[in-house]
Symmetry: C2
DNA sequence: CTGTTAGCGCTTTCAA
DNA sequence: TTGAAAGCGCTAACAG
């Protein structure tokens, strides 16, 4: 069941069948129709491997991520797949598992499959591996790391404006004592978020109380523990910003355990807006970094430069947006006690 | 940079290079070594598309799932990828988004890419699409649906034994008043779990109180609401089994809101053991359905029959295991009040 | 053990 | 607008 059979049935040459499949305009409407009927009738599916060989194009786009079980990624992968399929392209997903060695494997997989472009959405990356790809003129796009170069684009997330929106939201609700649970400082994205928080607070003329700053690990357990440490202190913020949603969810759990009400006793804002939030209660107010948008931009960065792999890369920017749900509210009216919530916090 | 260049540099024929790459044993150690050095030196990566064309094997395995953002799937996908890569094979992940039309697209993608086998892990499936694949002698494996046929294997999950382990665990802790929050009855897996619960309870001689049975939607919000309904009733079980983990997490949230302690006031058991549980507090006691095992079994079901696509399919069974964490404990000693926890529940 | 060579199924010049 | 034919890079049968 190959192109020859179709050609025979439609009484044309294989070239014409090929042209019809590829939507060439130099095929008469009638001829094309005859070919299409033959294809239909034979339930013919063009062999993509042969197409790739013949055309030098695999119609395959690589998507390298750290770990699909990290809630940030599933929606990204799905959206990337959606756009790709829409454009008749296939996706090769590869997990590095945060392991540089696996990254090497991933790159080699892309090379063997002759990916037409690769989106690298991990935080880690190794120069020499990137070279391996870009020296073969494979378009590349990164998330939030590096600067555009020949054939290499970058998607920058405007963390600063996202964090700023969160701080503005809180101040407009009357909060002035705002804490922050940051991510591991070894992580670039966590560092940037933390820096953006400090900047934003300063710009608003708000005091940064170091006691209100804790560090988590971007996972639930870290958020839980960080919040426990925070609640054990003699001071208590009226609101806390979190470096990501998982941290926020962990922190919320710790607060519930202490009998604290959100947002009555304290407001919480997350970051990322992971899928989980859609169905969780209380709905987490958070700063959404649209994975759908990232995926779209990434795919197009690659797909659009497929005819021109050596074009110079572009720097795209994705703007986060504040999503107001139910974990933020007016600042509680705390009075001069040193342990304003001790009664609540220990029962 | 192709096989010819390598052959030239190594001073052998392309056939020998090919043999070396494919680990044929009819190549002298020295020759092979020379070839390997040439490959190394040229940074040569064999073109998989050409290999596929020449050999009639794509080394590509399809994995069709409902929705990667459903927490059941990420680990399955990752594990499947892990095994596949280990065996030098590539994976094509496709989401149906629970949409029959998309399923058609998925199948067609597999056909075009000439997948060497397809694992179909969605609950829905359509006969004619399956035929499309199996009539082309592509090995298939299903999760928990259908019976083995020629070229079609099935992985059955022993829900009954899983649920039974949960019930036994509870009774051994002294629980006799056990509730159940089931999933939507339209979902086969939810129906089976519910049925297994009823059976298990009967077998233990325990009373099934219909008031203690609620229905969720296998998501957090459904679990939350179901638990709220349950808590609003005049009777209260000492333990509740859940049709899946997301339901349990939602239910836990509802309990916290009411000021109920887990497991002191009530024990909770989930089902699935999603990744999230690893870092959540309190750790959810649950029945683990190992995605890693499913993935491994699925891949091998396909890979092992690649030389024999018309072999008759096999029925594999995956045994769930009880994972004891912190949401189950001794049954509380409730006395004769009709609203045993009213004091707690309304404060 | 190694080389020669004919495909694999499609795309793409080049001619007609 | 269509067809003939030469690859694309590799595998595998066959010969030696």
């Amino acid at each position: 069941m190959n192109i020859k059979e179709v050609a025979r049935l439609a009484k044309v040459s294989t070239a014409t069948v090929s042209r019809t499949i590829n939507g060439s305009d130099k095929v008469t409407a009638e001829t094309a129709e005859r070919v299409r009927r033959a294809i239909e009738q034979l339930k013919y599916y063009p062999n993509t491997n042969a197409r790739a060989l013949g055309s030098g194009r695999s119609s395959l786009y690589g998507l390298i991520i750290s770990d699909i079980t990290n809630p940030f990624f599933p929606e990204l992968v799905k959206s990337f797949e959606d756009v790709a399929v829409q454009f008749g392209q296939e996706v090769l997903v590869a997990n590095t598992n945060y392991d540089p060695h696996r990254m090497e494997v991933c790159v080699s997989r892309m090379l063997q499959r002759k990916a037409d472009g690769v989106a690298i959405m991990t935080s880690e990356m190794e120069e020499h591996l990137i070279d391996e790809l870009s020296s073969r003129r494979i378009p590349l796009v990164f998330l939030d790391t590096g600067t555009p170069q020949e054939g290499i684009s970058n998607i920058a997330i405007d963390y600063a404006s996202g964090i700023d929106a969160a701080v503005v939201h809180l101040t407009s609700l009357g909060h002035t004592s705002i804490g922050f649970i940051r991510g591991p400082m070894a992580l670039t994205s966590a560092r940037i978020r933390y820096g953006a928080f400090i900047d934003s607070m300063k710009r608003k003329g708000l005091t940064i109380d170091e006691r209100l700053i804790e560090e988590g690990n971007h996972r639930m357990d870290g958020g839980h523990e960080a919040m426990v440490r925070l609640l054990d202190k003699p001071v208590m913020p009226t609101a806390v910003l979190m470096s990501n949603d998982m941290t926020a969810i962990g922190a919320l759990g710790a607060m519930f355990e202490r009998g604290l009400k959100v947002p009555d006793d304290m407001s919480i804002i997350g970051f990322d807006d992971i899928e989980l939030n859609t169905f969780s209660k209380p709905g987490l107010t958070t700063v959404r970094v649209s994975r759908k948008e990232i995926a779209k931009v990434a795919f197009h960065a690659l797909y659009d430069s497929r005819d021109n792999p050596s074009a110079k890369g572009v720097e795209f920017t994705v703007q986060p947006t504040l999503i107001e749900r139910n974990t933020t509210g007016a600042a509680p009216n705390r009075h001069s006690t040193r342990h304003p919530l001790k009664r609540l916090a220990t029962r």
